[in-house]
Each structure stands twice: as structure tokens, then as C-alpha cells.
């Protein structure tokens, strides 16, 4: 059976399906993975070199423009990658009626923690 014959008439008419948006999540997971290579590398090196720092030293580090910028990028990319990765795991292993609620909950949770992290870093950077 040809590829076209396997598609519904509505699918053919609308042009939707895996030929267009089906790989979007897969692609975003890869793009975020590539971005996380330098971002997490920077973070790991920074955390090790700042291990044992006191409060004022941590604040001074987080307030530097480079740190604030990279931490913001890290949080956005990290939680996007986390959301997409957990989504795949859930889709593969959860087949009961809780699948959709779990998917929605995980997505909302990742979004919320990502925003909370951004608020924290921006408050540290620009707060009194």
C-alpha cells in the first residue's frame, strides 16, 4: 500500500500529519539538546569552581551579566528539553486513562518551574 493510500481523505485535503508537524517535538528535543551541551558545560564548570562559596559570593556570581544571561538561557532550554523528554517517556510507558492528565500535568509543571526559575534569577539580578 502506498503512503498516500494509507492517509484519510480529510488528512490529504488538509495536508496535516507526520509530513508536516509530526517531527516538531522530536526536532525541538534535538535542538534543545545541542544548546544544552555548552550551557550545561558552563554550568557544571561554574558550580564546581564556586563550590563552598558563601552567600555574597554566590550573589555576586549570579548578578554578573554573563551569568544572568547564561542562567536564563539554561533554564528555558533545560525545562523545554525536560518537558519533551518526560513526554516521550510517559507516552512510551503510561497507557492507562491517566496518560493525558499526566502529560498535561508534566507539561504545566515544567512550564511553572521554568518560570519560577526565571523569576528567581531575574530577581537576584535586578532586585534590591
Amino acid at each position: 500500500m502506498s503512503k498516500a493510500a494509507m492517509r484519510s481523505p480529510l488528512g490529504r485535503a488538509l495536508g496535516l500529519g507526520s509530513a508536516r508537524d509530526g517531527v516538531e517535538d522530536w526536532w525541538r528535543e534535538r535542538v534543545s539538546a545541542v544548546a544544552l551541551v555548552p550551557l550545561t558545560g558552563w554550568f557544571a564548570v561554574s558550580i564546581v569552581t564556586h563550590a563552598g562559596d558563601g552567600y555574597s559570593a554566590v550573589i555576586a556570581w549570579l548578578r554578573s551579566p554573563v551569568t544572568t544571561t547564561l542562567m536564563t538561557l539554561l533554564l528555558i532550554t533545560l525545562f523545554q528539553h525536560t518537558a519533551l523528554g518526560l513526554q516521550v517517556v510517559i507516552e512510551d510507558y503510561v497507557h492507562s486513562r491517566i496518560k493525558i492528565p499526566v502529560l498535561v500535568g508534566v507539561r504545566l509543571g515544567c512550564f511553572s518551574f521554568g518560570i519560577a526559575g526565571l523569576v528567581a534569577i531575574l530577581r537576584i539580578a535586578f532586585g534590591a
Binding site: 534535538r30 550545561t40 557544571a44 564546581v48 563552598g52 525536560t82 517517556v89 526559575g117 528567581a120
Partner: protein, 136 residues
């Protein structure tokens, strides 16, 4: 189960409980497990940032937990999960780009992931102890 036409047994999909673990399958599931674990550590990072943002007192509480033996064990686990997922992820990206699909390459890159993850974890903690001392 015999096939009605040929009389030969039908091939069965591998049953995970009786399937001998191989480097390929173990690293595959390890990449997922470490990814799920790192999700929890991502939340911990946000909690730490919120503690810093809230002021010195809450930072001291977070810092004391990280310095406790449980905190240090969790940080060590985080380090290994991070490097395992990092190296495993780079291996996956190479596959996605179309490289390293021969059986030999898959085993070479697999053992490289194991070796580099362990080495970087040990190296990271060696540097950390050298810089911050043993009491942090």
C-alpha cells in the same frame, strides 16, 4: 506457537524479564532513567535559585542541606546522571546525524560513554574537593 502453514515457531518479541542485558539496552534505559532523575534535579536547581533570591537565611538552609551527607550523596548522583545523560545524548545526536551505526562503532561509543561518564564524575569531585575542601 506454531505457524499453521510452515509449522515453524513464530518469532516472539523480546521479553524484557528473560532478555540478557546488553551494553546497548542497558545504556538505552540508563539514558532515560538519568534523564528522569535530572528532571528532579532541574526542579532542585529552581528551588536553590528561589532560596538564593529569598535571602541569606533561606540560602543558609539550602546550603546546609547540600553540605549534609544526604545532600552530598544526591549531588554525587546528580554528577554521574548528568555526565551519563550528557555523553549518551551526544552519542544519540551523532546517530541522529547518521554516524556510528555499525555494530563495532555502537559498542565502542557505548563503552566510551561509560568510561567518560565515570572519569568526568571522578574528575569533577576531585577538583571540587581540591578547591572547596572536604567539609563542603
Amino acid at each position: 506457537m506454531a505457524n499453521a502453514l510452515s509449522g515453524r515457531p513464530k518469532p516472539l518479541s523480546p521479553n524484557i524479564q528473560i532478555y540478557r542485558p546488553q551494553l546497548t539496552s542497558v545504556l538505552s534505559i540508563a539514558n532515560r532513567i538519568s534523564g528522569v532523575a535530572l528532571s528532579a534535579y532541574a526542579v532542585a536547581l529552581v528551588i536553590w535559585l528561589l532560596a538564593v533570591a529569598a535571602g541569606p537565611d533561606s540560602y543558609a538552609v539550602a546550603h546546609a542541606f547540600i553540605r549534609s551527607w544526604l545532600g552530598q550523596v544526591l549531588m554525587f548522583g546528580c554528577t554521574f546522571c548528568f555526565f551519563l545523560h550528557f555523553c549518551g545524548g551526544v552519542r544519540h545526536l551523532a546517530w541522529d546525524a547518521g554516524y556510528g551505526f555499525s555494530l563495532r562503532a555502537i559498542y565502542t561509543s557505548g563503552w566510551a560513554v561509560v568510561a567518560v561518564s565515570v572519569a568526568l564524575t571522578v574528575l569533577t569531585w576531585a577538583i571540587k574537593f581540591a578547591l572547596a575542601g572536604y567539609d563542603r
